[in-house]
């Protein structure tokens, strides 16, 4: 399941749906990204996410396909919100089910690392001084590159 939406999502419901009545699932790894009130020392009051709709879902599907080719996983869910969010709001969920934990951990981290560097989302932060586009981080590029080595 891949979704890009303005609405919030219910982690419990998604996880329940992925494992429901499936006794092949031995491991479930879930990542949730949240809006922090602090980024580079400026107090964030809101965060707006822009994206490139026609490309976003295609990009996420491509990332999940790569993960399925690399690891023996049963199912994957990616949900990413767009629009304006507040501190403590959920931004993104990646959940993976598999028979064994290592595939689930690796696939989940892989999807997040690729999403962070390849999926067309851009964050703009607002604080008391105004609004500014968030800078891409070299550490995210490094996190992605290690999967190709």
């Amino acid at each position: 399941m891949i979704r890009v939406q303005t609405d919030d999502f219910d982690v419990a419901q998604i996880l329940a749906g992925m494992r429901q009545n499936n006794p092949k699932v031995g491991a479930m790894v879930c990542f949730v990204g949240l809006v922090r009130d602090m980024n580079d020392s400026a107090e964030v009051t809101s965060l707006t996410l822009e994206h490139y709709p026609e490309m976003t879902e295609k990009s996420l599907h491509g990332i999940v396909s790569q993960a399925k080719q690399r690891w023996d996983i049963l199912d994957a869910a990616v949900i990413h919100r767009v629009g304006t969010l507040q501190p403590t709001d959920q931004i993104v969920l990646v959940a993976i089910t598999s028979a064994h934990r290592q595939a689930a951990f690796s696939a989940c981290e892989f999807v997040m690392d690729y999403l962070k560097t390849q999926a067309p989302f851009w964050k703009k932060e607002t604080n008391s001084q105004g609004a500014r586009w968030v800078e891409a981080k070299a550490s995210d590029d490094e996190a992605q590159v290690r999967w190709t080595q």
């Binding site: 990204g33 996410l49 822009e50 994206h51 490139y52 026609e54 490309m55 295609k58 990009s59 990413h80 931004i91 993104v92 997040m112 999403l115 962070k116 560097t117 390849q118 999926a119 067309p120 989302f121 851009w122 964050k123 703009k124 586009w133 968030v134 800078e135 891409a136």
Partner: protein, 85 residues
């Protein structure tokens, strides 16, 4: 050839619109050539494409590098490095 060009995030704000239809001269065949051609539109464009900012490109919704070849009818998008997640 004619293509559609889309702009996102700070690039969209700099050029002040989100998409345009562009008719390209024959010699503009790659992303690099397109960046160079756009940069001649004026100061805003020159500043965007002078190489000091990283400007990523997609053709028909696939990330590409600057050597990628553009074809008639393509949708080309320019945007800063992504920051989702």
């Amino acid at each position: 050839m004619q293509i559609k060009v889309l702009y996102f995030a700070r690039i969209k704000e700099a050029v002040n619109y989100s998409s345009e239809d562009v008719v390209l001269p024959e010699e503009v065949e790659t992303i690099t050539a397109l960046k160079h051609w756009l940069s001649k539109r004026g100061e805003v464009w020159a500043n965007l494409f002078n190489g000091q900012l990283v400007v990523r490109a997609a053709i028909n919704h696939n990330l590409v590098d600057d050597l990628a070849v553009i074809e008639d009818g393509d949708e080309v998008a320019f945007f800063p490095p992504v920051t989702g997640g």
